[in-house]
Symmetry: C2
Amino acid sequence: MKIVALAGGVGGAKLAHGLAQILASEDLTVIVNTGDDFEHLGMYISPDLDTVCYTLAGLANPETGWGRINETWNTIANIEKLGGPNWFRLGDQDIATHLERTRRMKAGQSLSQITKDFCAAWGINHTVLPMSDSPVRTMVDTDEGELAFQEYFVHRHCEPRVKGFRFEGVDSAEPVIGAREAIESAEAIVICPSNPWVSVDPIFQILSPALIQKGEGKKVIAVSPIIGGQAVKGPAAKMYTELGIEPSALAVAEHYRNLLCGFVLDNVDRQLSDKIETKTLVTNTLMNNSSDRARLATDVLNFVRSL
Amino acid sequence: MKIVALAGGVGGAKLAHGLAQILASEDLTVIVNTGDDFEHLGMYISPDLDTVCYTLAGLANPETGWGRINETWNTIANIEKLGGPNWFRLGDQDIATHLERTRRMKAGQSLSQITKDFCAAWGINHTVLPMSDSPVRTMVDTDEGELAFQEYFVHRHCEPRVKGFRFEGVDSAEPVIGAREAIESAEAIVICPSNPWVSVDPIFQILSPALIQKGEGKKVIAVSPIIGGQAVKGPAAKMYTELGIEPSALAVAEHYRNLLCGFVLDNVDRQLSDKIETKTLVTNTLMNNSSDRARLATDVLNFVRSL
């Protein structure tokens, strides 16, 4: 069964890893949000792409969800001593990724080609694609004005109240080469449990709803990133609240309403199942370890088959 | 006694450190070659400036002569895994210097301002100046064509035969602010035991011989980087040979002939002393440790006083 997974950072990376444990390498394509990408200290940083790749490669830090396992912090500690910016935590191994990616981009390589080469170097057998080779930048409209995503997310700890989102560059950005083909040949699109507003929406904007609409023989299912009204990680629930929507699995299902033919929500949200206008799978969606990821992926794939 | 020291990398840094152990902070200005500077992995790297600063700050690696003590190598090891360039060895702490310097330069700060700030952060009390805030690039003419300095020096291990040197940008480069004033108020200019061809000549070209000529009340003395026909470190002796000159302290003295009013050479070269057309000091010029540096600096300062 060929699957395309749409993923942002930590939650998306975990389910992608679950799917990768089950599906053959040619049967899984992970398309990753790049709206969070930014330049910092002269380096091109692609946080979601790195989280997905590190997770698939077994290189991710299991405690933070971002960055590398067995990381050292000597560069950032010394940048700090020199009075440089330390708000974006960069480990020494992680910096290698950014420096080499930046070097290659300046030499004219595309983000997707670089990602392909890095995946090969890291022993990742499944296909990982950035959503686009063109720059798209998620801008967060807040009560303190518009902030670039990392400024809002990391530097300001998501403190400013959210009023909306804008994806700069999205109109002129083309989907990455291979995305269309992967979607066309896939049996299902799995929207991973990533932030609907800032991780999944940018991917939708790029791939265009037409490509992933139901009713054309394509099954689109989503896994809720909201469990018991809370995001497992990140500001998704806070964003819903600030946008005047009660955060819940139901709210997520309604976010994707026009696309879905199936929705996966956690056991703790079982009572919401009846209110959701598409078929649902109620299961344990928390992924605390590698076998949790594989179990949820198995549940998701069985659900897809049942649709 | 106010002193201006002209320095390249390792040898120059060691004598500068000796002088710094003796002279008050307001009495020593070290003007450093920047012809070796280059961009690598998107970072602005200034090898001689860093070697001088790390040495003065007690942060230098005493075994290599370049880079930081207690260094780790996690970034470069991971760049290597990704197929990136590993020929220029960058430690994790050292990378902080390059990243933060590059960030500041892109923000419009001058190399000299950045150096001043970094010196303050590293606890360096004496003044360290890059020779210019304008880019000057040492190009090495070889039997394999012209090579950028680091390409020749590090990547090619000084293997191509040298035919000459060119200092790109030198005609339009101004001396750094403060250099002229330091030279005017100095009792003596000490040319440190650095490579005459590629470390000291670029500084001369920038500061212009007029500023440091003898006969205007300014004492200029040099310490030979060649001991017993060999360079303590680096390709100086090889360069002399390839340019058709027998490498020796005598050759160095002749290199600086029009400038010098005093020349310091090693005990092992005592027999050359008579052939040198300026006053000489014969002493132990090898600097194996911190107290060697202070001892040679004391000898040099006493020699200056005697002239």
